[in-house]
């Protein structure tokens, strides 16, 4: 979706402000929020792309005014209510008022060391790759209202395939809950001027990781 999350190239957000000696978490609830999201993710009810879509679907004003972990908390509330795992009245009461559903998997403390690494998103290819390194490609001019990983600034632009990254779960399909739909993934590199016009720094190069359905030969 052409949402507020798709920030590449936007103006007006000001300077980057690094925080010296930044702590891992700025308050306890941030830590608990992260852990809760990981624990519920482990249950296997939703995919990583569905969780990303959940953040992107927050209203733009709320997205911009909420801290990172606040967005995670709001997203988790929405997901558990949507999936019928808890009801709004229970969250308001701060206690379960009805029994829970039975889930595929339940995270136990002993399994935590094995869940720190991310899962695998590589999948067997269903067809040979359409492009090879060195090919010129044009990204499609698409504007799906649902989740996509093709950023706006890199649509309808000519770039070069720099590397093939294998075949991966296709986020645009997985976010809809319609399965993995594996697609070839490429690193596509663009000249700064192709993306930003004459004012771009002449030597700038920017790459995206682009799934094959985003690309056509140029």
């Amino acid at each position: 979706m052409d949402g507020i999350h798709d920030m590449g190239g936007m103006h007006g957000f000001g300077k980057v402000e690094p925080e010296p000696n930044e702590p891992v978490f700025h308050s306890e609830w941030e830590a608990r929020c992260l852990a809760l999201n990981r624990a519920m993710g482990y249950a296997g009810i939703w995919t990583i792309d569905q969780t990303r879509a959940g953040i992107e679907e927050l209203p733009p004003d709320l997205y911009l005014s909420s801290s990172y972990y606040k967005k995670w908390a709001l997203r988790l509330e929405n997901l558990v209510i949507e999936r019928g795992l808890a009801d709004a009245d229970e969250i308001a009461a701060g206690h379960a008022l009805r029994p829970g559903k039975t889930l595929k998997r339940k995270l136990a403390a002993v399994d935590v060391p094995n869940t720190i690494s991310r899962g695998s998103y590589a999948r067997p290819a269903r067809a040979p790759a359409r492009f090879k390194a060195g090919d010129r490609v044009r990204t499609k001019n698409i504007h799906p209202v649902t989740h996509t990983r093709l950023p706006r600034y890199a649509r309808d632009k000519v770039g070069v395939i720099e590397a093939l990254r294998g075949c991966h779960v296709y986020p645009d399909t997985a976010a809809l809950g319609q399965g993995d739909d594996p697609q070839w993934l490429y690193t596509v590199v663009f000249d700064g001027r192709e993306l930003w016009g004459e004012s771009a720094e002449p030597s700038l190069k920017v790459s995206i990781e682009a799934f094959e359905p985003y690309l056509e030969p140029a």
Binding site: E19, A31, A39, R52, D111
Partner: protein, 191 residues
Amino acid sequence: MQLRVRALETVLGEKGYFDPAAIDALIQAYETKVGPHIGARVVAKAWSDPVFKQALIADATKAVLNMGALNRVGDHLIAVENTPKQHNMIVCTLCSCYPWEVLGLPPVWYKSAPYRSRAVNDPRGVLKDFGVTLAPGTDIRVWDSTAETRFIVLPMRPAGTEGWSEEKLAALVTRDSMIGTGLPKDPKAAA
């Protein structure tokens, strides 16, 4: 937010969706086990061992696994090497994708609108915000992490560190130098 998150944790825990002790174990892991010290070891080894460096550039997932820095790495960790010609910078313009296994959780600025918006069209301006100026003639390459591939920058080994142990070298490797918004520490200041 404190109360709101506690309410959510209580409700989901009471419904039996996870072992409540798992929450504390997860927090402890993110606070103490994963962090940029892992990436720093990887970089220091690459600086010291040309064979490892080659393996790292060829397949960072495999190379990092083989050095035993981690139990397991997610798919497709990619190491990109800084040279006198090219400086690399990593961003995720769409959300906050970051190589958690080697750098830990991302800092607030990495997830912020200023960084995500400007890294792709004004990387030199972003570097200025970090107080970093590149040597003249250095081009910038920005990697937007738009899929499940994850990137780590292999910074240039600072001059004047000949004969240093991997441990001593690792102390020069900052988190920001592995994202591309910083450079390794000055060995004279660190010595």
